[in-house]
C-alpha cells in the first residue's frame, strides 16, 4: 500500500481490538509516571487518529482518572481532536511575520481550492484545514505546514502544486 506512506496514524493497518490492546499496554507503562495524561493522549491520537468520547472513557479507566478530567484536558488543547481529521492536516501560520508577508492571501486561496473553511475537513476526507500558532520559521514567512512538512515562502499560486503531492 504505497499510498499509505504519508498517513501518520496506523488506522488502516490494525483493527480496533489490536489498537486498544496496544494502548492498554502503553497506559500500563505510563500509569505510574506522574502527570503523564497528556503524553498518553498524544499516543492515543497517533494510534486512533482522533479522541472520540468512547476512547476518552477507555483512557480514563486505564489511567484511573474521572472521565471529566480526561475530557477537560482533551478540549483544552488544540492539538487534540475529538472528530476524525482528514488524512493530512494543513496548518497555516497567522503569526505577524506570516501576515506581513501575505499569510491572509494564502488562507483565502486555500479556502477556494479546498472548498472548506478554517477548522473544517474536506468532503473526501483528505485535508483538514487549520490555522496554527507560530511554527517558528518566521525567517521564511509565509509558511504552511502539511503534517510534519514545512513549506516556506509560499505564494497563493504555488498552493495547487503543493497540494497535488498529497493523495
Amino acid at each position: 500500500m504505497p499510498e499509505m506512506k504519508n498517513c501518520t496514524c496506523s488506522c488502516a493497518k490494525e483493527n480496533d481490538e489490536q489498537k486498544y490492546k496496544k494502548l492498554a499496554e502503553l497506559m500500563k507503562q505510563y500509569k505510574n509516571s506522574e502527570g503523564s495524561l497528556i503524553q498518553v493522549l498524544h499516543i492515543a491520537q497517533a494510534i486512533f487518529g482522533c479522541l472520540p468520547l468512547e476512547l476518552q472513557r477507555y483512557i480514563a479507566q486505564g489511567m484511573g482518572k474521572p472521565l471529566s478530567e480526561v475530557s477537560g484536558v482533551v478540549t483544552f488543547y488544540s492539538f487534540f481532536a475529538t472528530r476524525p481529521r482528514g488524512k493530512h492536516v494543513i496548518r497555516v501560520c497567522l503569526g505577524t511575520a506570516c501576515y506581513v508577508r501575505g499569510g491572509k492571501k494564502i488562507i483565502t486561496r486555500l479556502e477556494e481550492i479546498l472548498g472548506v473553511g478554517v477548522g473544517e475537513t474536506t468532503k473526501d476526507g483528505l485535508f483538514t484545514f487549520e490555522v496554527a500558532r507560530c511554527i517558528g520559521a518566521c525567517g521564511l514567512a509565509p509558511v504552511i505546514m502539511i503534517d510534519d512538512m514545512v513549506y516556506k515562502q509560499v505564494k497563493p499560486e504555488k498552493l495547487e502544486n503543493i497540494l497535488a503531492q498529497y493523495n
Partner: protein
C-alpha cells in the same frame, strides 16, 4: 563509556579534534528548520554521492549542523578550514562546488554570499556583515557543530562547566557566579537568574524540580527551537548546572508539540548524555544525581506562562493560577520549582566555564550579555542573530539585517510579539536592552523582531 571527571572530557576533546584534523576539509551543511524546508537533505545526499564518486569520502568530513542564522538564503553550506560560505545551494550547485573548491582548490565565488549594496561577492563567512557584528554565546555552537554528536559538543568545552561546578564549587558558589554575571531571564520578563536560583536553593523541601520552558509562544520567535535543534547539549548542561545549584534532581523540558524535530534531537541527546554518565546517578563521581524528562505540550498559547506550564506538565488543563505562591515556593506537584527559558539556560555553561567577569563585559550596565533576535518580515536578511545588549535597533536592522528589500522605506518593527509594541523610525538609535526598550513602549519579549515597510498596514497586523 562513563565520564568520571574533567580529564575524561579533555581526552574526548583531544581525540575528536585530532580526528577532525586528519580531514582535508570539513563541509558543514545547515540542517536547521529553515534549511530543512529549503531541502538541504537533497543537498547533503548529492554531496555524499559526489564525494564518493571522487573517492574522497574518507578525506572529507560532512557534518549536518543546526541553524547558521541566515535562513532566507538556505540551504547554506560552510567549508572549513577556509571558512567559505555558500548560499542557496542546490544538488547541481554542490557538484560544481566540490569540483572547483575541493578538487581544484578554487573558491566558486558566484555561489557565495552576494552583498547587494556593495555589489560584490563575500566568500569568507567572517567578512559578511551579517555575521561580523554578532557575538555568539547562547548560539555559540549552533551551525558550528554536528548537533547529533556529544563528542562534538565536548570538543567545544561542553560539559566542562558541569565538571567544574560539581567537583569544585559548592551550590552557593554556582548561584553566586550566576548572580555576579548579571544574567537575566530571556523568556521575556528579564528576571535576574541568580536571584531566582538563590530562592530555589534556600527553599527547604525533600524534593525540588528544575524546569526548562521550551514552549516558545511568541509568534515571530524561533531562537529556542534553533538552540534545541542545533545544540541540545547546551540546554542539558544548563539544566544539570541549574539542578545542582538549587538542589533539584529531577528536570523537565516542556517542548511545544509544533516542534517535532526539536523533540527528536533533544531525546537523542538526552539518551546519549545518559550513556556517557552525564545524567543519572553519581555525576562526575560525586553523589549528585540528575534525571531529565521531556514533556510535550499540545498547542495552547497560554502554556508558555510558568504556572500554566506546570499544570500542563502535571497532565492537567494548562490554566494559569495566581502568584504567590511563586513556583520556587510551591511549584510542580506542590514542590519548589525553578523555571528557566531555553536561551537563558544555554548561557549558563559558558558563564560557569569562563566566569561571570567574562560574561559581564558584554552588554550594558543593567542588561548583561547578549540577546538572540529573530529577524522576520520586510528585512533582507531574515533569520537568527545574537548581539550584545545595548546595540541600537538601527544597527540590528540595517547593518546586520541589511535593510528593507526593494529599496522601500522602514515603517516600524514589532518587538516582543503581539503583546509587545511597535518601534518607529525616530527610535532607531535606542540601545536595545530591557530598560530602554520598555521606555519606548515596546518590550524585549523573547526576541522576535518583525519588520514592516511603508506598505504594511499597522492596524491590520495589531
Amino acid at each position: 563509556m562513563r565520564i568520571k571527571n574533567l580529564e575524561d572530557l579533555v581526552k574526548i576533546k583531544e581525540e575528536y579534534n585530532s580526528k577532525m584534523a586528519e580531514y582535508n576539509y570539513q563541509i558543514l551543511v545547515c540542517g536547521g528548520g529553515g534549511c530543512v524546508s529549503s531541502k538541504c537533505g537533497e543537498v547533503k545526499e548529492a554531496l555524499d554521492r559526489c564525494l564518493k564518486g571522487y573517492g574522497l569520502s574518507e578525506k572529507i568530513s560532512v557534518i549536518t549542523t543546526g541553524c547558521m542564522g541566515i535562513c532566507a538564503l538556505g540551504p547554506v553550506v560552510l567549508i572549513k578550514p577556509d571558512e567559505t560560505f555558500y548560499t542557496k545551494v542546490t544538488p547541481e550547485k554542490i557538484a560544481e562546488i566540490v569540483k572547483s573548491h575541493i578538487i581544484n582548490g578554487t573558491i566558486l565565488e558566484k555561489y557565495t554570499y552576494y552583498d547587494k549594496a556593495r555589489q560584490l561577492y563575500i566568500p569568507n563567512i567572517n567578512d559578511i556583515p551579517f555575521f561580523k557584528d554578532q557575538v555568539k554565546i547562547a548560539l555559540r555552537n549552533c551551525g558550528q557543530i554536528d548537533y547529533s554528536s556529544i563528542e562534538a559538543y565536548i570538543a567545544k568545552d561542553g560539559y566542562f562547566a558541569a565538571a567544574k561546578a560539581l567537583s569544585k564549587m559548592s551550590r552557593q558558589q554556582v548561584v553566586e557566579e550566576i548572580k555576579k554575571s548579571g544574567l537575566r531571564g530571556r523568556g521575556g520578563a528579564g528576571f535576574p537568574t541568580g536571584i531566582k536560583w538563590e530562592a530555589g536553593l534556600k527553599a527547604i523541601s525533600d524534593q525540588k524540580y528544575f524546569v526548562c520552558n521550551a514552549d516558545e509562544g511568541d509568534p515571530g520567535a524561533f531562537m529556542d527551537r534553533s538552540i534545541l535543534e542545533g545544540d541540545p547539549h547546551s540546554v542539558i548542561e544548563g539544566m544539570i548546572l541549574g539542578g545542582y545549584a538549587v538542589g533539584a534532581n529531577i528536570g523537565y523540558i516542556y517542548v511545544r508539540a509544533e516542534y517535532p524535530i526539536a523533540v527528536e534531537r533533544l531525546s537523542t541527546a538526552i539518551e546519549e548524555a545518559r550513556r556517557y554518565g552525564l545524567l543519572g546517578k553519581n555525576l562526575f563521581s560525586t553523589d549528585f544525581e540528575f534525571e531529565l524528562e521531556i514533556r510535550i505540550g499540545a498547542g495552547a498559547f497560554v502554556c508558555g506562562e510558568e504556572t500554566s506550564l506546570m499544570a500542563s506538565i502535571e497532565g492537567r488543563r494548562g490554566e494559569p493560577r495566581q502568584k504567590p505562591p511563586f513556583p520556587f515556593e510551591r511549584g510542580l506537584f506542590g514542590k519548589p520549582t525553578i523555571i528557566n527559558n531555553v536561551e537563558t539556560l544555554a548561557n549558563i555553561p559558558p558563564i560557569i566555564h569562563k566566569g561571570a567577569h567574562w560574561f559581564s563585559q558584554f552588554g550594558t550596565e543593567r542588561s548583561k550579555g547578549t540577546k538572540v533576535f529573530a529577524l522576520a518580515g520586510n528585512v533582507v536578511n531574515t533569520g537568527l542573530v545574537e548581539v550584545p545588549m545595548g546595540i541600537s535597533l538601527g544597527d540590528i536592522l540595517f547593518k546586520i539585517g541589511d535593510g528593507i528589500p526593494q529599496g522601500k522605506a522602514f515603517k516600524a518593527a514589532q518587538a516582543g510579539g503581539p503583546s509587545g509594541g511597535c518601534i518607529t523610525k525616530e527610535f532607531l538609535n535606542t540601545p536595545v536592552d530591557y530598560e530602554n526598550i520598555s521606555k519606548i513602549g515596546a518590550i524585549m519579549g523573547s526576541g522576535g523582531l518583525i519588520v514592516m515597510n511603508e506598505d504594511t498596514c499597522m492596524v491590520d497586523t495589531a
